[in-house]
């Protein structure tokens, strides 16, 4: 699927779209409820709590219980949006996510807030750069990384209508609106944010706008870059990757996550099995991040327009003639 990319003025915290959409859906549907682990402020669900106190459950600082409670609510016909910082939600409750959601196929929507390195200087305890690797291997679990407020809204509405467990990986870092207002989320589809013929950059979440900026700079130097928004981490759009490998000279993946087992790993698996092609994987290279703000850390690991530009050029230099 293709989307005409229009960067509108301003930057947005996707949690605002998350909270407003959840409130709107709860007003429409009595099955919608929210479960949090004391994270009332960091999920921006204070208004939800005030509007729907009987459908707001705060289990306290207890993530295993939070996910299990979600499973129980879902098994009895509710549609729980289980929300907390992604680092604790995924790591602390991994077995509940595997068994109570994936294996049991309970209709729970996990909303992992402030994922990646959004918590910056709070340190590695609060970074959630392992969650791609952990969640994408769980059968039946759909993993979605919205790129902007529009995709956040679309993914939430899709998740409400879909009967099965979903992990929405959200951020607090400001992003521009990139998708058209009438955008509809589809699982298993990568979105072509910009077409190109030399190199494909595959990324998602807060890094898509940086990839687009890199593509713009490279275009001015005569290098044509295709940018794919892989917002659906699981299921994954294998076809779009094979097509990119066939139609461009290689693929650069960029993720706010460990380079092991995440977006780059997914694409390496696809290429190795279906269409080997030159590749570069940008992300956090198997280390715990040092102290610094989120922006500092993104720069530190080369997850910037400049870093992506360099990686594209290196890939082209090493790829040889097409």
């Amino acid at each position: 699927m293709s989307a005409e990319v229009v960067v509108k003025a301003g930057l947005f915290d996707c949690r605002d779209a998350f909270a407003a959409t959840l409130e709107a859906m709860a007003a429409e549907d009595p099955r919608i409820c929210a479960v949090v682990n004391d994270s009332v402020n960091s999920t921006k669900l204070k208004v939800f709590r005030a509007k729907f106190p009987e459908r707001f459950v705060n289990v306290g600082i207890a993530e295993q219980n939070m996910v299990g409670v979600g499973a129980g609510l879902a098994s009895a016909g509710m549609i729980p949006f289980v929300s907390g910082a992604s680092c604790f939600l995924t790591a602390r409750a991994m077995e509940q996510i595997k068994v109570d959601l994936g294996y049991a196929r309970n209709n729970v929507k996990l909303c992992g807030m402030s994922s990646g390195m959004a918590y910056g200087e709070l340190g590695a305890t609060h970074h959630s750069i392992e969650d791609f690797a952990w969640t994408r291997v769980i059968p039946n679990l759909t993993v979605v990384v919205p790129v902007d407020p529009i995709e956040t809204r679309a993914a939430l509405r899709w998740a409400r209508d879909y009967d099965g467990p979903v992990f929405l990986r959200l951020s607090r870092l400001p992003v521009p609106e990139l998708l058209p207002a009438d955008y509809v989320f589809q699982p298993g589809r990568a979105i072509t944010m910009r077409d190109g013929i030399d190199v494909t950059v595959v990324t998602n979440g807060i890094l898509v706008c940086r990839a687009l900026a890199a593509a713009e700079k490279l275009a001015q130097q005569g290098i044509s870059v295709r940018v794919l928004n892989a917002s659906s981490m699981a299921p994954f759009d294998r076809e779009a990757i094979v097509r990119a490998a066939q139609e461009t000279r290689g693929i650069v993946t960029v993720e706010e996550a460990s380079i092991y087992g995440g977006l780059g790993g997914t694409i390496a698996e696809i290429l190795a099995l279906e269409h080997p092609a030159p590749m570069k994987i940008l992300g956090v290279p198997g280390v715990f991040a040092p102290t610094g703000s989120a922006e500092f850390l993104l720069e530190h690991f080369g997850l910037t327009a400049d870093g992506i530009e360099t990686a594209v050029k290196e890939l082209l230099a090493g790829a040889g003639a097409k």
Binding site: A62, G68, G72, P80, Q96
Partner: protein
Amino acid sequence: MNQRLRQAAAAVRIHALEMVHHAKVGHPGGDLSSADVMVTLYLAVMRLRPTEPTWANRDRFIMSKGHCSAAFYATLAEAGFITKDMLGTFMDPLSKLNGHPDRNKVPGVEANTGALGHGLPIAVGCALAARMQGASWRTFILTGDGELQEGSNWEAAMTAATYGLDNLVVIVDRNRIQQGDFTEKTIRMDPLPEKWQAFGWSVVEVDGHDYDALREALAGAPREAGKPTCVIANTVKGRGVSFMENKPEWHHGIPSDAQLAAAREELLGSAK
């Protein structure tokens, strides 16, 4: 009623031992300790429609000690959710009767358990859902006692008390034995009633093999309005088969042909 329960419990125990003997895998000690609780719940307490297993107003039962699946499946067969023929496929290749229950494969199973400490949070979610929906059905959950060493139970216990879930009943199969040894020689659980009381629950201790006491405790919940109920069922691991009783090695011991025959004879005698 007690005679019916006694006969059903004997049937559950015999089926469970036959299933474990057939599969050469299983947890007979806990199957036997929990059988009386199970048949009391399914035949005398819970509001169920076995021919309509997803009936919206059914009481929910969560088998948190999923390793005692043989007793669970045998009880579901006694109650009419599955056929007794199906029990003969226990743990066979591609059988619906996995070693630990799968709600997507077996009618009457509400949760995929087997990893310990998962049931109580799920049960709390069920009880919250009933409240949100204004529904009158109740949620029952059976846990092991060793299982309570998993911290997630106590997270959920605090939530249930804080939310005043008096539509929730946890039954602890207090057989005092876990895989490796007696619970009190492993990680002390006593004083268990006081622990639950301190967490804000209404607690009652019963002989877990006394049908009258079980029925009164289970059907009579909640004993205190606004509080979840904990029924500590004092049981004997391996109950009903003299050579298995109160022996840690029967946690997951597998009976030989001769042991199965002897156990069957003893259990048939007890059902008369």
